[in-house]
Amino acid sequence: MNNERNGRRALLNAVDTVTQPLIAVLISFLLGAVVILVIGKNPLLAYGEMIRGAFGKQVYLMNTLKRATPIIMGGLAVCVAWRSGYEAMGGEGQMILGAMAAALAGYYLPGPAMLRIPAALLAAAVAGALYSVLSGWLFEKFDVTFVISTLMLNYIANYFAAFLCNYPLRDPEANVYQMQNAQTGKLPPEATLPPIMKGWVHWGFVLAVLAVILTWFLFRKTSFGFKSRMGGLNPRFALYGGVNARRMLYLVMILSGVMAGLGGAFESLGSKGRYVDQMIFSTGYAWTGMVAALLANMNPLGTLAASILLAGLAVGGSTMMLNMDIPLEVCNIIEGIITLFMSARMIRIASGNIRRRRQAKGGGEA
């Protein structure tokens, strides 16, 4: 009796974790289709274009993976922080500073690729971590909630980076009259992340996958993972069990910041080859990463998969825009709706309702 009930509960849970994302995705694509219909296009064709443009050819697939790289890292940053109970949303700011730090270190430091790339990555990790620790410090010392501090810090980072690449660190070779975003100097080949092989995505993606595995390992196989999870589930219990909450806060903030910072570095060292004004802010990598982490319920492996799918959505969306003249932002709409429907525990609530109704009915008859 007991076993059977547990089995059923486990099954229900499994169904819950799988079907919820599926339903959310389905609803959002349906609503997206409505939007596409309204502007007089064929949604099936559009989605076809989208899928083809994301995964249809090696080039497209590589584009998707390239775009997925910073999203994965942003997602991991969220996984690490939120799983420990710190609902920080500072990935964007940390990513911006990471991208900037890597671009500068790569541009101004001398030396061969063997040294320059690690140095640039290190600079990004440090920049991201420091910025993340700043919000942790504001929380610990001054009770400034993460929501507000991180949101504000995101804007500050973006403006600060804009200042840097517009003025003191502007690309010396830039044409002043060119109408384009300001940027820092172009990184030499020794300082860029090369493609894995010709026509493939850059090494940043591989590093991101490694980070996913590392995070998974950290969560599942280490006492740090255990402590952070307990802190997230019940901070008082963790305190009572002898977990040093302060140390955990800063460790988690550092780790989360490193992830985001590296995400920025992969983008500037791998994709752009420099820091371009608004390159993180306008693409919303960090937010997409957050959505991915959420879709995966803070599971690193799931975050990887979700990030690739969401990146595909955006990359395919560009193809759709080019070929069918549908604005790319359909993807943001879809992303928003997926997130919205993922937030609600719909299945559980629905099944609970059904059960209660059945019970009530049974009670009435008895």
Binding site: V35, I39, E87, M89, L138, K141, F142, D143, V144, T145, V147, I148, S149, L151, M152, L153, Y155, I156, Y159, F160, A162, F163, N166, Y167, G284, W287, M290, V291, L294, P327, E329, V330, C331, N332, I333, I334, E335, G336, I337, I338, T339, L340, M342, S343, A344, R345, M346, I349
Partner: protein
Amino acid sequence: MTYLAQVINSTIREITPILLVALCAGVCSKVQVFNIALEGTLLMSAFFAFLTHYFLRNIFLSVAVAMAVAMCMTLVMSTFIVRLKGQPMIVGMALNTFARGFTTFLLSVIFHTKGAVNPSDLKGLTKLELPGIRNIPFLSTMFSSLTIIDYLAFVLAVVMFVVMYRTVIGFRLRALGINKSAAGSLGVNVPRYQIVATTLSGSMIGLAGCLLTLGRNAMFIQDISGARGYVALAANNLCKGHPLGAILSSALFGFTTALAQSLQGTAIRQQLLQCIPYISTIAAMAFYNVYAKAKAKRQA
């Protein structure tokens, strides 16, 4: 002197949208619905105010549509949080992402641009001239080209105070925010109160949206809300949801923004100036918390 009057004038104009949003945030926080969708709601209502005005050339209708859109967004927000037990932060971010995508999408479908739309033949909200100050240069500069909604914002702050602290409905809302299960045990339908209250208060965000797109000339720029929703959230956090306190805390942010604007063209670069309001938000909250702690200690 004129410079000072100008700074005050632009401060007022920066205050009012934030104040209106903060008033809505105040109601939401009083009934324990954590609303971070303020930003997206503001953006959506600003866009639809502009859109309605662009096509129908009717200012009243534009305001009405903006309020309706804001209420819809808030309704979705509170329904997902209250009824479907969505995590508030995630619901809010989802709506913000949606709003950003949706407005930009329509912008490019309708106006074929992703930047700014600034039709020169379209007039904004009617400016209200206060009688009797025309001949006093300082005051007339100070209060120049303010719309009726600007004045209304301050009136609404007082109205909201009266509603929340003097009327039966406000009493119930505050009470159920303090202890949901106590209110529920007396047979009050708590979720319904929460949803209705937040949705109605959402209309104030609609007014704020009108100020953004129709406050001076009619225009829309991508992401015109520019984090004002978040700033209002912080402002509300500072005044602990008190409508009159919201005037003060919004004034702080309005002033720093106006200050940053007025320093443009000086030696300090624009991008650094733009950081000021955000930095001062964090600083204000940190100071306030330290002060409140010290005060609690002194009192005891």
